[in-house]
Point group: C2
């Protein structure tokens, strides 16, 4: 059982919007991902997701009570997106995130497109 | 749905070995805790636990394959303790941690003593 160094793991890849598995516990995976640019609007039917910002500022767009809003999530902050909530991550500059979500969660979830990464790599 | 700033939440309490709930997702709680000194040896029968070090150095003592060893977990690093593994967190200086574990997990788990905190506060 070894520890995981976030910076070391983040140094192993440079592709965007392609989460890597760096840990598992209970029914969840811990993932690291780098973002740049806009993702797609999507939601997860049953899974809640945690986004912890390691570097940069994440602009999380989301719909709450029928209204679009945006939450700026900075380094050392996290946001939990409950299942069912439409959201779209936006990264004006490069953003590094630690994600926590149930095993098997697809990154684009209810939307399958060129951004969908079905077979995640463990690093 | 709001973001959580780890430093801000950590500024709200100063007691040791008393985890506070700062988020929930799926069947898990996200907690923050400050440690100083030694905890007790214990294990969790069914829950895996994640310890992410926000500040300081955690010395995680554990038994693996019948042998005691220690993993030094520094800032920006995490360790996952699988269920069943005997472990004892030690903090020579103050350590701040983010924990992730299933709802209802007792901090001392199989051991109930003066360190047990059964009703966790949400902050």
């Amino acid at each position: 059982m070894d520890k995981v160094n976030l910076a070391q793991k983040l140094s192993l890849f440079s592709d965007y919007y392609s989460p890597k598995i760096v840990g598992e516990l209970n029914d969840s995976h811990v993932k690291l991902v780098k973002l740049k640019g806009e993702f797609v609007w999507h939601h997860h039917d049953v899974e809640d997701e945690l986004f912890l910002v390691i570097k940069g500022t994440l602009r999380m767009k989301l719909f709450e009570n029928g209204e679009e809003r945006e939450v700026k999530v900075n380094e050392g902050e996290f946001i939990i997106i409950p299942h069912g909530v439409e959201h779209k991550p936006v990264a004006d500059e490069e953003v590094h995130l630690m994600l926590l979500e149930p095993k098997g969660t697809l990154n684009t979830c209810n939307v399958k497109n060129e951004r969908t990464v079905a077979d995640l790599q463990a690093i």
